[in-house]
Symmetry: C2
Subunit: 157 residues, 2 copies
């Protein structure tokens, strides 16, 4: 039960874009540097978020990415669904699959994974980027000399 890096990087990248909300586009290069995510990999991630309608791209010089909606209207769930596919704990609970599963009406486990999946969605959808921004601004952020910022190792959030 781990999140893939796509989901984690996606949230961090989108957080940077959300932070910029109302102040023009943020370039992919800038995001890559601030969050220490490989530029090429980030392209894939942002592209998916674009296709999902969460962000919009502005081309040309001084272009970049912009949030497509207000931060309060973008949830962690939107990002996770866009990057990790639908929340279906088992393959046969995915949207199109239901009808194919010939033992659906005799499957004890179905109820279990369905219910847990619903709870996960609930939790993911209850957190918006507005919440993240509020939390971020609420914190003490003095620049102590030796203090490091977001360096994403393998295990980082």
């Amino acid at each position: 039960m781990k999140l893939s890096t796509k989901g984690k990087y996606g949230v961090r990248a989108l957080f940077e874009i959300a932070r910029q909300y109302g102040q023009g586009p943020l370039s992919i290069k800038e995001i890559s540097e601030r969050q220490k995510i490989s530029l090429s990999y980030l392209e894939q991630i942002l592209h998916r978020l674009g296709k999902a309608g969460i962000i919009e791209s502005v081309r040309g010089p001084h272009g970049g990415y912009v949030l497509a909606r207000r931060p309060a209207e973008v949830t962690i769930g939107d990002v996770v669904r866009a990057l990790e596919g639908p929340i279906a704990l088992s393959h046969c609970l995915e949207p199109g699959f239901g009808s194919e599963c010939y033992q659906a009406d005799d499957c004890v486990a179905r109820m279990v994974w369905t219910k847990v999946g619903e709870k996960i969605e609930e939790a993911l959808d209850s957190i918006s980027f507005e919440h993240l921004l509020q939390q971020y601004h609420g914190k003490d952020r003095e620049l102590v000399p030796g203090k490091k910022r977001a360096v994403a190792g393998k295990g980082a959030c």
Copy 2:
């Protein structure tokens, strides 16, 4: 966000053991046949469940596995934790890791994945095998001639 087969097979195997509760041990071979899970693979799974104190093994002829507690006291969460490790969406949220993460106090994502993780645990722990048994017995289980029973393909629950 998928469950591994270990977790899914584990629940199905334990369901069979729970069904047998109070009627002596159920052999690994029997479970393997009823749920169509490879015997060798099942050994690994049951062994882990044993180490976690969820089941007990009875050796010798007519031996097998028995639930260590009443079905109502074994939850899906117990099984998932035993087979997939602690529910930590990100590596750095795992039990022993917290102190190592040097950016924990400056990590926006931490709150998100912690909260979602808690919700998942809540959902998993709210379902016991007693619930599964009740649901199972509540269903109409007539043996219609052509009807097939649990054949676990790759995508099955």
